[in-house]
Amino acid sequence: MAYQLYRNTTLGNSLQESLDELIQSQQITPQLALQVLLQFDKAINTALANRVRNRVNFRGSLNTYRFCDNVWTFVLNDVEFREVTDLVKVDKVKIVACDGKNTGSNAAE
């Protein structure tokens, strides 16, 4: 199963909200919504792996780090994200990273 990691993104959240609305109006069942989300997980994982080909660098100061259940969570401060064309600065960013070597484990986001 693919990581459910990407459900907490703009794309994933908007999908979940939409599904919730349909459930509210009883147009779909929660079970069906879950199936849709699982399908979304597959699709986004595949798309990211295959359709994206760019690189980003970043630098900042590490505020906190956590490693639990093979999931790293970092909070960085004063970070600069650099792409070839791009520079984005943020005061604070949270990075949640699942193990990239083993996609068999189904880690919740």
């Binding site: 993104t9 703009t10 909200e17 990075i95």
Partner: protein, 374 residues
């Protein structure tokens, strides 16, 4: 431009993911016996939320089509308004004045107006069915049996989708119903006089991202009404929920909201005031307690160390998180790690396949390398 590369990738990526998901779940929907309409609704909702988030410069192809349709309709409107209709007249009193008047339909009032206007087209009488309360989506059934769908665009512009001039059935107008995942609660109806029996032009500008064209044959009013009714019901149901769930101030601002708009924005996180949603009771108590303690301390002249301890302890809490909760965008990167390395307090990150939301915008990467000091 700084974000040109990424901002080109993201919309397309999201589009392709959406298409993939929708296509894949179509079977699931059918297996469950759920109508295709619901699937379309899901897609519409999904897209509209993406639009609202402004995290992506998304433009759905259908939306582009809509924009094209809008332009066409506007052009046609100008023509129609000049040649006023004879028998078929779909007029809103305010709309009669100008070719492209956007009358903000506010539920019952306008409906009454609609029904009161001299609709003498070949079709049957118009009935406006507006969902009570939230009415993102309105279905107008003209006296002539034409079903018009009032669509609320995302930008708060609501338009009645009226049939474009295409097919002419004797003295009937072909309504082109466009039921879209309407968002904006306010409906702006642009109606223009209908030319005698043939063409019905409406300055219907449809901005909702998706518009489902349901071709209706005016000849068979019952069929039309049935089909439209089904579509409308579903859309209404979803739209109602949509509207309820949507607390979009921008949309509301752009629309005249008066009586009809009984929507209330969904519960927003309110940190102060009467409708405070966060639990500040404890903090308030602490503050009061501290103040009391301070006063007592001053009065008593600081008898014991105990009196001094409370104020001291209260300052131990780090209020960082509270400030950050208020912050609109929590910048988040969701990804996978290839390698995380640390040397003393120097950390190196090797990440991959990530989606970032920074300063409200979305970015993606296939690889990311970072350094940080702890």
């Amino acid at each position: 431009m700084a974000s040109s590369a990424n901002s080109n990738i993201v919309p397309k990526l999201y589009r392709s993911v959406m298409e993939d998901v929708i296509n894949e779940v179509r079977e699931l929907f059918l297996d469950e016996g759920v109508d295709e309409q619901v699937l379309m609704e899901l897609k519409t909702l999904w897209e509209s939320k993406l639009m609202q988030s402004k995290a992506v410069d998304g433009f759905h192809t259908e939306e582009q089509q809509v924009l094209n349709a809008q332009q066409q309709q506007q052009a046609q409107q100008a023509q129609l308004t000049q040649a006023q209709s004879q028998t078929q007249q779909m007029l809103l009193p305010p709309a009669q004045q100008a070719p492209q008047q956007q009358v903000i339909v506010q539920d019952p009032k306008i409906l009454q107006h609609m029904s009161a206007t001299g609709m003498s087209a070949a079709a049957t009488a118009a009935t406006l069915a507006l969902p009570t309360g939230v009415t993102p989506f309105q279905q107008l059934i003209t006296p002539q049996g034409q079903i018009l769908q009032v669509v609320r665009a995302a930008n708060g512009a609501q338009y009645i989708i009226q049939p474009q001039q295409q097919m002419v059935l004797q003295q009937q107008v072909l309504p082109q119903m466009q039921a879209g995942g309407v968002q904006a609660p306010v409906i702006q109806q642009v109606l223009t006089p209908i030319q005698g029996g043939l063409s019905q032009q409406t300055g219907v500008i449809i901005q909702p991202q998706q518009i489902v064209l349901t071709g209706n044959k005016v000849q068979q009013n019952t069929q039309v009404m049935q089909a439209a009714a089904m579509a409308v019901q579903q859309a209404q149901g979803a739209a109602q929920i949509q509207a309820q769930a949507q607390a979009q101030p921008p949309q509301q601002q752009t629309q005249q909201q008066q009586a009809s708009q009984q929507q209330q924005p969904p519960m927003m996180l309110q940190v102060d005031g009467a409708g405070d949603t966060s639990s500040e009771e404890d903090e308030e108590e602490e503050d009061e307690y501290d103040e009391d303690e301070d006063e007592d301390k001053e009065k008593d002249g600081g008898e014991d160390g105990q009196v001094e301890e409370e104020p001291l302890n209260s300052g131990d809490d780090v209020s960082d998180e509270e400030d950050q909760e208020l912050f609109d965008t929590e910048n988040v990167v969701v990804c996978q790690y290839d390698k995380i390395h640390r040397s003393k307090n120097k950390w190196k990150f090797h990440l991959k396949d990530g989606i970032m939301n920074l300063n409200g915008r979305d970015y993606v990467f296939s690889k990311a390398i970072g350094d940080a000091e702890w």
